[in-house]
Subunit: 414 residues, 2 copies
């Protein structure tokens, strides 16, 4: 199908997608869950093709691991579908209603966004997660996975069409783009008359090229340079536990801590103990001058390190004069993703909450909690750091928009 | 100032704008209201230059009228400022808060979007309205008015800087672009690292060129092809009054009715009476075949007419078989702006409300009510038909986004 034909078809199907009953949507999702289990041998076969090609192409082990579908990934995909089934249908929800002096009852009702193009790399699970969330929120989805996962994604997509068909839902509410031809995607990105939103998930290069090319609005996050500020008034044990969790629990994720800021009045007491715990877990520190004085032998951080999203066990550490300097540092080097303060001081907690404008700002909790499940949204479509529409984890609600509705009995404009 | 310098400066000032107290913002706004009154002679002088240039250039009377600042416009600008002062400050409002099983209190707090570029044509009042709303919502604004209103906008902007200065607020929170050089604006539109949102207000050509050029997200509406469907079950008098109001109260506005859809079972009774009322007001009808049978002598509507935003006293009229055909017509030819049903039938009212995805859907009320004041939002920045972030009138809340906040006592990711 030519890009324009696909986009038009999707637009046409968005009216269908918007009005599927909750029961039908859940039926299709549960059918998909069943197919993933029943037809896993076929899925493993197709996945093997991707794995072998990736190994032949000399992709790194971690890349190959992300492609791999095993029993654990099957279970994860099934669980993610059940999570979405369990979530309330957002379509048609009236989120607010108020009465005007002329008696007009005005409200806001959730509706789907329309057609969503999801562009992603490596992990084939995203095919399932993106489809489930878009279907439940009444959107028509166009899925474009990475070419390295082509066979796996294609196999999963055959399950999707089969599940839709079995549940009596039009197969046109989900589309799959298999081509490796970049110009095809670039054409889709120009079709703002048919496509309402693009959500790219992947490396910064992918995201920048999507933003560069797109005439369709894009929700994305470039990177997560997350900070924890250990205040002068921090409880030491709380600070140690949270910082350790934020750095080492899963260092390759966007919400892991990349820079630790420590108040100078607590630094000499706190940093040596923190460093010992980090050392046990293999964390390498790059410190500012003051840090290097306290922790002998650590590498010196250079200016570029403060901007760095390491995604590994490296950590930048800076001793700061006070809360102002901590906030100024986060504003200058941060990425609006996730930042936390550890403190027992009421005013400092509130100032940090108010003045740091990241998608999640925490007091006395780990940055790793920035995630749809952890925050109670249920499943999510990634974390947006675009300060428009959705800022933070994007759950079902973020895949909708509200229209105004008005119940009148003859109201006119005077 | 070069575009990049301006954009960077604005980005820097957005942190200042985000944390001005409500008191200071209101003080600056009231100072501005005072200056508009006290220094109106200067404003009239500058405005005269624009008017004379427009007349010399042979602009149409309605265009010249839109440029003109007289006592009435002064009063309107003052009232619009007082309206914004009266609205609650949205910045820092916690709109929702919930508790997670691990005890974490998670909430959503309103923050400004950041830097907003407003591009507009003709009416100089927009300078005041856009500035007031952006300041109150804690955003830094870059104002780019039409070159035809250059002197008026420039004069109003001197009042703005004076008011900010007098209230002790940094003048960097508002910027004015005076150049006629399009490439300057095109450069700004590429600076998505510094500018968070573009709101263009004006003709379709302006809007299309902004969307075409922009890497920054754009909220806009291209046009308003608004429908009223008079159902078989409509109360005739209600239908007559509402349709008349929607068409003639101010035909040149985006929320005026452009197409009237009438159920075939009521058409013969309703249309002649409606046509008599319209005729008195100078409305010209372009009708479908069935309409032409009922109303002898009306012009025949051609296919293109159903897409038409007349913005004058012309009206397309179509007789439809039922609610389904009415909804299908609106989906095909509508612009997602404002659509209404006139009915006494409970199920038809709800089906129309649910299935028509326009920014405002009304039952038994005039399309002319799609307006921030009328719906109770207070002032507005125009009506968005982009189905993202803000769909419908954009008030103060729509100029903010929510960040997640979390109050913890040691919560980790397990």
């Amino acid at each position: 199908m030519k890009p324009e034909e696909l986009a038009k078809k999707a637009k046409g199907a968005s009216d269908i997608a918007a009005h599927i009953t909750t029961e039908m949507k859940d039926k299709a999702l549960l059918a998909l869950e069943g197919l993933i289990r029943e037809r896993q041998d076929y899925l493993f076969e197709e996945n093997k093709k991707d794995i072998e090609a990736a190994e032949k192409a000399g992709l790194g082990k971690s890349m190959v691991d992300r492609l791999r579908i095993d029993q654990k990934v099957i279970k994860e995909m099934q669980a993610s579908i059940r999570d979405v089934v369990a979530l309330p249908d957002p379509v048609g929800e009236i989120v607010k209603i108020w009465r005007r002096p002329n008696g007009l009852q005005v409200g806001r009702m959730r509706i789907p966004i329309g057609v969503i193009l999801v562009i992603y790399e490596s992990r084939p699970n995203v095919t399932i997660e993106a489809f489930s969330l878009c279907l439940k929120s009444g959107n028509c989805v166009i899925l474009k996975g990475g070419s390295e996962a082509y066979h796996s994604n294609q196999a999963l997509f055959t399950f999707i069409t089969e599940a839709l068909h079995g549940a009596g839902v039009s197969e046109d509410v989900a589309h799959f783009v298999g081509t490796k031809d970049r110009s095809y995607i670039y054409s889709l990105l120009k079709m703002d008359d048919y496509i309402d939103l693009v959500i790219p998930r992947g490396g910064e290069a992918l995201l920048r090229s999507v933003v560069e090319q797109s005439r369709v609005p894009v929700l994305k996050h470039y990177k997560g340079v997350c900070h924890i500020f250990v205040d002068e008034w921090a409880e030491k044990d709380t600070a140690l536990t949270i910082c350790l969790n934020a750095k080492v629990q899963k260092p390759a994720t966007c919400n892991a801590m990349e820079t630790l800021l420590v108040h100078e009045l607590i630094a000499e007491d706190f940093l040596p103990e923190m460093a010992r715990l980090f050392k046990k877990q293999g964390v390498t520190i790059k410190g500012c001058k003051k840090t290097a004085k306290i922790l002998k032998g650590v590498d010196k951080a250079v200016e570029a390190d403060w901007y760095e999203e390491y995604l590994n066990l490296t950590l930048s550490v800076r001793v700061v004069k006070d809360l102002d300097e901590a906030i100024a540092h986060i504003r200058k080097y941060g990425s609006n993703h996730t930042d936390a303060i550890i403190t027992t001081h009421y005013h400092n907690a509130w100032r940090f909450l108010r003045e740091v404008n990241s998608s999640l700002v925490l007091v006395n909790a780990s940055t790793r909690l920035n995630d749809g499940y952890q925050l109670g949204l249920g499943a999510e479509m990634g974390i947006s750091t675009t300060k428009l529409h959705a800022f933070g984890p994007m759950g079902l609600e973020e895949l909708t928009v509200t229209k105004f509705i008005a119940f009148g009995d003859g109201q006119l404009r005077e």
